[in-house]
Symmetry: C2
């Protein structure tokens, strides 16, 4: 538990991992635009941190050289089941949850399938390097 907390116990690391795993964000600007409003110095710091802990890999677009993107590693993606568990807990107990979002239903009915779907989907995104629009998760 201590190991896990050390890596994404920090608010900003947690947000970044959420964004990269659940929202398909890839670019510096994507992360900057997060609703939580991270500032540039903190973002750079956390991206480096997550790179060092092998949660993200940094890539420079070979054609447009000023374009950089970040991808989640296998290690980061292994976090998905736990994250989905957290999401389920949240929709279950957050008073602000009005009606069960669609993903909640999907996960309740077929959790393994939901994870599998996500895994397949994110692989496609990674492979094609498309700037994915936010998933309706």
């Amino acid at each position: 538990m201590r190991y896990a907390a050390g890596i994404f116990g920090d608010k900003w690391c947690f947000v970044l991992l959420r964004d990269v795993l659940l929202h398909g964000k890839r670019y510096y600007g994507d992360f900057l635009g997060s609703e939580e409003g991270i500032s540039t110095n903190i973002l750079a710091n956390r991206l480096a941190q997550l790179e060092k802990s092998e949660m993200l890999t940094r890539h420079v677009d070979p054609v447009k050289r000023s374009r950089v993107y970040y991808l989640p590693t296998r290690k980061a993606r292994d976090l998905l089941p736990a994250f989905l568990g957290l999401m389920m807990w949240s929709v279950q107990h957050d008073p602000a949850t009005e009606s069960p979002p669609s993903f909640a239903k999907a996960m309740t009915e077929d959790p393994a399938g939901a994870v599998a779907w996500y895994e397949a989907n994110i692989d496609k995104v990674n492979a094609t390097l498309v700037d994915a629009s936010p998933k309706s998760l």
Copy 2:
């Protein structure tokens, strides 16, 4: 995710929930003795916070009136699957993990069973109000 982070995204709340859910800690002194070394003011603050967010309930021992204990609510216990997910991820990726701890094997072989076992066990602990010795989780 924001809701979850708001409740136990904080380092100390996270530690307290771990202690109460995974180590069966119940008393103020138990928490104080945590390896992480929380100080009294912070501990009191976080206990109150967790009580307000309905993760813990505070009970005064009816016979020994200076004795107080805290129990995890149902809401807190619903966190267990997600926590187990985090633990599995940690033992899988923490370089410090030498040989797979016994619980890791149990959870890999039968995750649902592990959760069920824990649920049953913690209920017993709660029912008897025994100051449980740390589980070998």
